[in-house]
Symmetry: C2
Subunit: 111 residues, 2 copies
């Protein structure tokens, strides 16, 4: 899988590069983790978990995660508005793989 990336295409076209692009940035992984832990979470709830994130950044990240189909956004047409975010099946399957990175990190942390 990995070993053919150089001959056949450039790095941008690899599955690895694609996967990383889904979770790049400072907060996406933490958002996914929160959704994994709490399952269904509202906007301001997420803001409290992700201490110090700005409205703009959270909003941007949620939109990207949704368009990458890792999370599901469910909007209730009411006043005041209510929106719930949760992991999609696709998002859950990604988290399973990322857990392996977590385990490697715990085992191999230096110092």
């Amino acid at each position: 899988m990995i070993k053919n990336f150089i001959e056949n295409a450039n790095f941008e076209d690899t599955g690895f590069s694609y996967t990383l692009s889904l979770i790049s940035g400072k907060y996406k992984m933490v958002i996914l983790y929160c959704l994994m832990e709490y399952e269904v979470v509202r906007f301001n709830e997420l803001k409290r978990y992700l201490k110090n994130i700005s409205d703009k950044t959270l909003s941007t990240n949620l939109k990207e995660l949704e368009s990458d189909r890792l999370i599901i956004r469910r909007e209730y047409p009411q006043i005041p508005p209510k929106v719930e975010y949760s992991l999609s099946d696709r998002g859950k399957s990604l988290m399973a793989v990322l857990d392996q990175l977590c385990i490697w990190g715990e085992k191999n942390k230096l110092g």
Copy 2:
């Protein structure tokens, strides 16, 4: 593993965050991939594989990868100088895990 990160600590302390910090940036993964493929590679050789990378960025990245003990730098005391870079065992073990991300990406790429 993942599920306890919120209660026990913040995201910065997780193994996952640590692992990602090792390969963050635009080029580190590509460098590791090159070393996996070609095993022993010299500085200017890497520069040719990583089209458009600047001397400074390549130099910085190699130093960080070395201090994180993912790669090995071997210098030959001669003129003109000769330096060879290769994956450490630790680097190889990380690549094995990253391959899983690559596979997930290939399977789940949209469009």
